[in-house]
């Protein structure tokens, strides 16, 4: 048996392997990229939701961006605790307000709002909105097909009983996915601590809005008069709450004739003793 028949294949493969190995080793030295260990450490403290709320495709990309000089408090899922952890790793002071934000659908129309026509075609808010702005008479109203529900990775937004998308503030992490998905652009971020929200986005004049939807803001201005804190204004025929000034007194929600201003009363913090008791003792009647 010709010994060369074994030596050649083995030898040539081994030689090629060694050659390529050496070339790769040389290349990896020559083109070495210094990996910052801080990026890995930051990635480890991030929630790994990969939601994209920070503006980067995933948690690992954001971790790298922080090392490259990005702000440390962009992760809305982790919030302040994660920002603090990142601050430790990066050796900087914690910044950011720590104000928890949640998404809010600024519409309460649904079945309260008339339909212009009966839509038959592709389901989905985007498809519907492309046909004459959607079947709803109000062109700034929630279509209710749940494009936002489909993109939410946290199960925090659902279509409620009367056909409007509603955010579950407890689950919402302010990743902004629903805001981007809504073809009407009627979802916005609001501070979680605020309790009074105008649930309407229609900028048409009062009578027009009123003809289409029973719970729309008709820009009557009663809320502006009722507010003692200069925290609500009518701009472009639409009432808007200034969340920096609002103190959750709920006067605007009481005077609104169409109930377009949502009052999240059940979630308001009760003082102890309960205000009704105090009021009764003082001989004052309190409306609940």
């Amino acid at each position: 048996m010709d010994i060369m028949k074994i030596i050649w294949p083995v030898g040539s493969l081994a030689a090629l392997g060694l050659l390529f190995g050496a070339a790769l080793a040389f290349a990896s030295q020559k083109f070495a990229v210094a990996v910052d260990s801080r990026a890995e450490a930051i990635d480890a403290v991030l929630p790994q939701a990969n939601c994209g709320g920070c503006g980067y495709p995933g948690c690992a990309n954001y971790a790298q961006a922080v090392v490259d000089g990005e702000a440390i408090d962009l992760c809305s899922v982790g919030g302040l605790p994660v920002a603090t952890e990142i601050a430790k790793i990066m050796g900087v002071e914690t910044i950011g307000s720590g104000q928890r934000m949640v998404a809010k659908v600024k519409c309460n129309g649904g079945t309260n709002c008339k339909d212009d026509f009966h839509y038959q075609g592709q389901p989905g808010c985007l498809a519907k909105s492309m046909v004459a702005g959607g079947p709803k008479a109000c062109k700034d109203g929630c279509i209710g097909d749940g494009d936002c529900v489909a993109v939410c990775k946290f199960d925090a937004i659902h279509i409620n009983d009367h056909g409007v998308a509603q955010v579950d503030a407890d689950k919402c992490v302010a990743c902004k996915m629903c805001i981007a998905a809504c073809p009407k652009g009627i979802i916005g971020l609001v501070p979680d601590s605020n309790r009074a929200h105008v649930l309407c986005s229609n900028k048409e004049r009062g009578p027009q809005v009123k003809a289409n939807c029973s719970v729309a803001c008709i820009a009557c201005g009663l809320c502006v008069k009722a507010c003692k804190f200069d925290a609500i204004h009518v701009i472009d025929n639409l009432s808007r709450v200034d969340y920096d000034k609002c103190v959750n007194c709920m006067q605007c929600t009481k005077v609104c004739p169409t109930k377009a201003i949502e009052a999240l009363i059940p979630k308001r913090r009760r003082t102890d003793p309960r205000p009704t008791d105090v009021a009764t003792e003082a001989g004052v009647s309190v409306e609940e």
Partner: protein
């Protein structure tokens, strides 16, 4: 094929014998990376580079090691060794020189190693007995054919995102049906050479 003209080789590799749609090579990345047009273009370009380089390297390995020593049975092993090393090299260099492209390609880059279209083109070069110039042209054209197929398919899949697909067909079933229809369409090129 050995005496085929250069234009014939190019048209044959891109359209008539399209690697994905007629030879059914490289189906894995074809299905896996075609959800978005941008990523499919990136994948196509990375494959184009690796395929062309592999065409050159394997030609020399075949001509100066395998044929003189009569070791044709080793070509699969040796070609894979060359392709894997090339992909590794491309990855290292890209990471240093073009980090943005490296980021965009992500995991697709190492996956090219297992792309059977790359091995397929090197083996076909050898089988057709191409010289160096024809090997390079055939490899590049085959890679362009792969890019064409994956980008076309990505455009179709992006359209399907908004379509009302029956529940049972959602995801891969409809993608496979679409791929087969695309393959039928490319069958129309059969007679032109």
């Amino acid at each position: 094929m050995e005496n085929a003209g250069i234009m014939t080789i190019i048209i044959s590799a891109i359209l008539v014998n399209n690697f994905v749609l007629s030879r059914f090579l490289g189906i894995c990345p074809f299905l896996g990376m075609s959800k978005k047009v941008e990523t499919s273009v990136g994948m196509g370009l990375a494959v184009t580079f690796v395929m062309t380089m592999a065409g050159i390297f394997t030609y020399f390995a075949n001509q100066y090691i395998l044929i003189p020593q009569n070791m044709g049975y080793l070509k699969t092993v040796m070609f894979i060794l060359i392709i894997a090393s090339l992909v590794q090299f491309v990855e290292i260099v890209l990471k240093k020189i073009l980090p943005s492209l490296y980021q965009a390609l992500g995991v697709f880059l190492p996956l090219i190693t297992t792309n059977c279209a790359v091995l397929g083109v090197t083996l076909l070069n050898e089988q057709y007995g191409f010289n160096l110039l024809k090997s390079v042209i055939h490899s590049a054209a085959a890679a362009l054919g792969f890019t064409l197929a994956i980008v076309l398919f990505a455009f179709i899949r992006e359209q399907m995102e908004t379509s009302d697909i029956p529940e049972a067909f959602k995801g891969f079933p409809i993608a496979l049906v679409t791929a087969s229809l695309l393959s039928f369409a490319f069958l129309g090129f059969q007679g032109i050479i």
